[in-house]
Symmetry: C2
Subunit: 224 residues, 2 copies
């Protein structure tokens, strides 16, 4: 069986795999889309896709886009596991703020060993989700379930438990943290504006108004 899991890949190869995964969760990604995602030229992507296919990480047909194989998907999930554990560590133990975390984790994820990742998982108490609420893939490559209903789609009067904030943007995360809207928070939708899509919420005795865009990024599940 080739591509077990212990062959170490270049940072570049790992970033291509992540980009492909991001673009096409379970579909097909185009050369251009990958190029844009990574900020490289399309010819660079063309060349790399050929290489990734030889390595067995993607299915690739010229002019037809690219798709991760099981092996490729596994590598991405292990990478993502490292990334999210590192982010959790930076936020919880090193006092990083949202703006600082992503860049650092992006570099570190390519440098840490599997042992490091596993020990870090222990240190953190084997979290199933990172501080954004993003699910942390398990060592076996499976993903914990994560409630995913957008707050924007919850009816008036319902109670909603936040599970996940679907953005890496530091300003949005900062703003939500300030409001206290974080994974675990319980909200009640008190009003919705029919056209603009504004959502009025109440929690902790406070009332706030969120834009539709923001309310789409807030995921969770309806309670009771």
């Amino acid at each position: 069986m080739p591509n077990s899991k212990d062959v170490s890949l270049s940072t570049s190869v790992e970033n291509y795999l992540k980009a492909i995964w991001l673009i096409a969760r379970e579909g097909t990604a185009s050369t251009t889309a990958v190029a844009e995602q990574l900020g490289v030229s399309a010819p660079s992507v063309s060349a790399m896709l050929g290489k990734l296919q030889v390595l067995g990480f993607v299915e690739y047909e010229r002019y037809r886009g690219v798709q991760l194989t099981a092996s490729g998907t596994r590598r991405v999930l292990l990478l993502l596991r490292g990334h999210r554990l590192i982010e959790t560590f930076l936020l919880e133990h090193l006092g990083y703020s949202w703006d600082e975390v992503h860049e650092e984790a992006e570099k570190l994820e390519h440098a840490v060993s599997e042992r490091f990742t596993e020990r870090l998982g222990e240190l953190l108490g084997h979290p199933s989700h990172d501080p954004h609420g993003d699910p942390i893939p398990r060592s076996d490559g499976t993903l914990p379930d994560t409630p995913n209903t957008p707050l924007a789609e919850v009816g008036v009067g319902q109670t909603f438990e936040v599970s996940r904030l679907m953005t890496q943007a530091a300003d949005a995360l900062h703003y939500l943290a300030e409001l206290g809207v974080q994974p675990g928070a319980q909200l009640r939708v008190v009003k919705r504006e029919p056209f603009g899509g504004l959502v009025h919420i109440r929690y902790d005795g406070r009332e706030e108004v969120l834009s539709k865009e923001l309310a789409m990024l807030i995921r969770g599940e309806v309670r009771r």
Copy 2:
């Protein structure tokens, strides 16, 4: 002023600087010595030394060896600071053993930011020395003093406090850890053999015999 401290260097460049520092603490290092230290060919070293001189990190005269500039030395000390803080973290917080630590720290030191290093220092309580007893350079590039008398040179009847174990070899470190000979340990030299150089020590009620080689690696200071 070029080469402030924030320009990021390639892993390769950083490893050359470390190798040069290791070989020639305050002298001159030969091309061959650097090549051996890094496990690369001499021509590769020749080429890199030219580059390092252009970058202002070394003084280099062909056929005359190489020497770090102040700027080069500062970079090495910052790198070493990261390395030793990371080692400390791996041992104290992630449950690594001596054999596992070095390799991991060797990779991570090139990937962490200065912010990460400083935050890690805080988390660890600003240690002045790592678990081997190696001094951790300060952020300003200065080095804390470290008692450096070899146990091999201590007279019979004297009390000696271990400060440092001058090896990275996992087997030696393991063996010493098992004996309880670690930075901070207080020993008494009870006997020395005149020819082989064996040193008999007593501590904790136990008595052990150390080879001359091992006793040279154990550094510290005489007490009282």
